[in-house]
Amino acid sequence: MTETQLIEGILSKQEKYFEELVNRFQPLVLNTCNSFLHNRTDAEDISQEVFIEAFLSLHKFKKESKLSTWLYRIAVNKSLNFIRDNKKRKIIRSIEVFFGGEPKHKLQLADPGLEDAGDLADEEEKMALLHRAVASLPKNQRVAFTLSKFEKLSYVEIADVMELSLASVEGLIHRAKRNVTKKILSHYQKKIA
């Protein structure tokens, strides 16, 4: 089944086509969300939202790019929005704790300082350190780096997803690599000192 058939089938409200879309692109969407959120449950929740958004706004999809590129774009935006909202919830939680109340829920996207990783097992500690270094990058650098390193997308594909020029993507990834390395290095330097 081609992409065009898939889109036309969904637009004509045929259930099986939408099911096919979900099954075909689930690994792509789920893994993209997970690359940003590092939490399976959150990634699944956001994936559901991505497919709902895709279903509801498929009529707006211009066939200038591939369907996968469009889905990547929705997945990235939804994941970033989730992280932003989670930060707001974190502030509310800290206010609750400040006024003596118990936090109502534990946030799964906890963002401790780079120094707090010492208690984790070696590889987990390193992975957590890497994730936090990536999470501290500016938005565009983080998106470009995540899509390149974790999602293994080519620079051309990243440029399509982010709607940027190839040169901009190259620059973003280069700066992201430098910044991530600096952050990790400074963490280990502090540990040694």
């Binding site: 099954n23 689930q26 709902i52 890497l130």
Partner: protein
């Protein structure tokens, strides 16, 4: 001019030969991003061979960065479609239940809000005026009773002192 250039090149070369820990740590960033040139790279490796602290630091950095190439793959959830369908059904039901409501809400809600605000303002104003009038009246009465009783007129001070004696 030539002498100056030569001097500069020699000092640069000597500096490279004696790479210190600070230079080595700066070089780690350049090396990790793959931008390091051959002579500098050789000096960097030479420094790592002679300095165990920098070697350990670089090993930790490298082993962390290498994890970025390790992809965490999430297994697809076979029930994802069912969950999406449920959510979509709810959305569609919500839309059909509220079909005609948006235009109704769009017109009636601001009208009701404005009316409520006007009634509130009018009521508040009336209530304020009513309270003020009554309050003033009470004050006047209280002042009258307190001020116009003159005890001194009824019983003079001299008489009271004589009685006490």
């Amino acid at each position: 001019m030539n002498q100056k250039f030569l001097k500069k090149s020699v000092s640069k070369y000597l500096k490279q030969l004696n790479m210190n820990c600070r230079d080595a740590r700066n070089s780690m960033i350049v090396c990790s991003t793959g931008e390091m040139k051959k002579p500098e790279h050789d000096q960097f490796l030479q420094h790592l061979a002679s300095c165990s602290e920098c070697a350990k630091l670089y090993q930790q950095l490298d082993s962390t960065l290498i994890l970025a190439d390790k992809r965490e793959l999430v297994q697809p959830n076979p029930f994802l479609y069912t969950r999406i369908r449920e959510k979509l059904d709810k959305i569609e039901q919500g839309v059909s239940k509220n079909a005609g409501l948006p235009s109704y809400q769009r017109i009636l809600r601001p009208i009701l809000l404005t009316l409520g605000l006007l009634i509130g303002l009018y009521g508040g104003n009336r209530l304020g005026n009513f309270y003020d009038a009554k309050h003033q009246e009470q004050l006047t009465t209280a002042l009258t009773t307190e001020f116009f009783i003159n005890d001194m007129e009824m019983e003079k001070l001299e008489v009271q002192l004589l009685n006490d004696q």
